[in-house]
């Protein structure tokens, strides 16, 4: 076991105070087995002191044949902190829904202690298992061990990023389709796009089983597949009454919070106008024993979300309001092929699909991928009053 060299970190130590988990505490624990962690703390302390980042990012680092999964990182002060002169990140494709056995977790950690710093991030914002900090010469051996144990690298750069899914029907009764199966199928179908970057920029796919959207697909994914239902909310009146008897204020906490005001409560009976329901899930979340998603289940497919990087954040727009579960995989793949074709042809360097749609206009985009505009694509009525109807021309 390595004897950790003590580096004073007064600024980082501040981040250990308070009741919250601290990444500084965790890195300090890892010093006992990983000498890299000492230099990591030292460089981080220097960055806090000087208010300057000391990592150089990018370049040519990877495993043979792959263009994704490794994010190159070097220290710009290697003479001071030689043990983190290389500190590359590896992204490992997570299992759908993030289900692991203890053995799998132990295997991953053992591999990473042999080939890297031992520090992990479970998980990154796209969903991958993140291995933090290794040297260039350790990348191939680490990759070989990972593949020998059934793991593979995830996406990075201008590739399809590792698809992710919520726990879906494995643990959640609200799942309106099998998110785990779809996520796995898409991952296997698009291996080439995942490992060999073909696009103008990144492309993220996230599968959420219901409108609660536990994977935040509507805010993060270029293609969001969000479970929903077409028929009426399933309602158990006795269970509603039981909630009321237990003290739930159904008028205040359920009816008044419905975004479309589609429910009424007369003190004994809850009436839902399902035609006005926008599937926000609020009432179901408040009274899970009384209300359930309908029986005719499937998903809404949306496009164009992204977090702010080159440009500002975007939320997804509806592309297909409802696809029955049994047609979902085929529809998603057909749609992906059309969207990629258009993006490949017209996308500028580092332009996400949502930005491209903003640039060319949704109408042109829909026309190009062969979809008819439908009312469900409209997120809100237009509030610009300057609309001129050319009634003469229309009548002519």
């Amino acid at each position: 076991m390595a004897v950790a060299e003590k580096i004073d970190t007064p600024l980082l130590d501040e981040l250990e105070k308070g009741p919250w988990p601290s990444f500084v505490t965790e890195i300090k624990k890892a010093r006992q087995t990983s000498p890299m962690c000492d230099d990591l703390l030292g460089q981080l302390e220097l960055s806090y002191r000087e208010k300057i980042g000391h990592w150089k990012h990018g370049g040519i680092v990877g495993v043979l044949g792959y263009g994704g999964g490794v994010i190159g990182r070097y220290s710009d002060v290697p003479e001071k902190f030689p043990r983190v002169a290389h500190f590359h990140t590896m992204r490992i494709n997570q299992p759908a829904g993030w289900f692991y056995t203890s053995d799998a977790l132990r295997t991953l950690c053992d591999i990473w202690e042999r080939h890297g710093s031992g520090l992990t991030n479970m998980h990154g914002s796209t969903g991958d298992i993140i291995f933090l900090g290794t040297r260039t010469e350790e990348l191939e051996p680490c990759f070989q061990e990972l593949t020998a144990n059934g793991f593979d690298l995830g996406g990075s750069g201008s590739s399809m990023r590792t698809p992710s899914a919520c726990v879906g029907p494995a643990r959640c009764e609200w799942a309106c389709y099998d998110t785990l199966k779809l996520c796995y199928d898409l991952t296997m179908t698009y291996q080439d796009e995942l490992h060999r970057p073909p696009f103008p920029y990144k492309f993220k796919i996230k599968c959420a089983g219901c409108p609660n959207d536990c994977v935040a697909s509507i805010a993060r994914a270029d293609l969001s597949i969000i479970g929903t239902w077409k028929d009426d909310i399933q309602q158990d009146d006795d269970a509603v009454a039981a909630y009321a008897a237990e003290g739930v204020n159904i008028q205040k906490d359920v009816v008044d919070r419905c975004p479309t005001r589609c429910m009424e409560w007369d003190g004994a009976k809850l009436t839902i106008n399902n035609r006005e329901c926008v599937r926000c899930m609020h009432c179901i979340n408040v009274m899970p024993k009384a209300l359930r998603p309908g029986k005719e289940r499937g998903a809404t497919i949306l496009i164009g979300a992204k977090a702010p990087i080159v440009q500002g954040a975007l939320l997804s727009s509806v592309l297909i309001p409802f696809v029955p579960e049994e047609e979902l995989e085929e529809t998603v793949k057909e749609l992906i092929n059309r969207v990629w074709e258009f993006w490949d042809e017209h996308g500028m360097n580092r332009e996400r699909i949502g930005e491209l749609i903003q640039r060319v206009g949704m109408a042109n985009f829909l026309d190009a991928i062969g979809l008819e505009p439908v009312p469900e694509m409209v997120s809100a009525p237009r509030d610009n009053p300057y609309i001129f109807f050319r009634t003469d021309e229309e009548q002519a």
């Binding site: 990018g58 990877g62 263009g67 190159g72 220290s75 080439d192 060999r196 970057p197």
Partner: protein
């Protein structure tokens, strides 16, 4: 007549060599250039994908990342310490 994958790979490699140090090429730049050169009936996107894979698997070219992913010649990483 379909162009052999090896020939497409060779042409792609020449293009990468010519552009080295002048312009970063994306996979799609190479694909579009090959289709323009040979015509879509003789050189499909799928053929270009196979040719690129051949170049990568042989190590003649590598993927690099400079804000986006590019196809470049292998070289010592500029940011790497000596």
């Amino acid at each position: 007549m379909p162009v052999p994958i090896e020939e497409i790979a060779e042409e792609m490699y020449k293009m990468v060599v010519e552009c080295e140090g002048k312009r970063n090429l994306k996979a799609s730049d190479l694909t579009k250039a090959m289709i323009a050169k040979y015509g879509e009936e003789n050189c499909s996107k799928e053929d270009c994908k196979k040719a690129l894979r051949q170049l990568m698997d042989s190590g003649r070219t590598v993927y690099s990342y400079f804000g986006g992913s590019y196809v470049t010649l292998p070289k010592k990483e500029g940011a790497a310490p000596d």
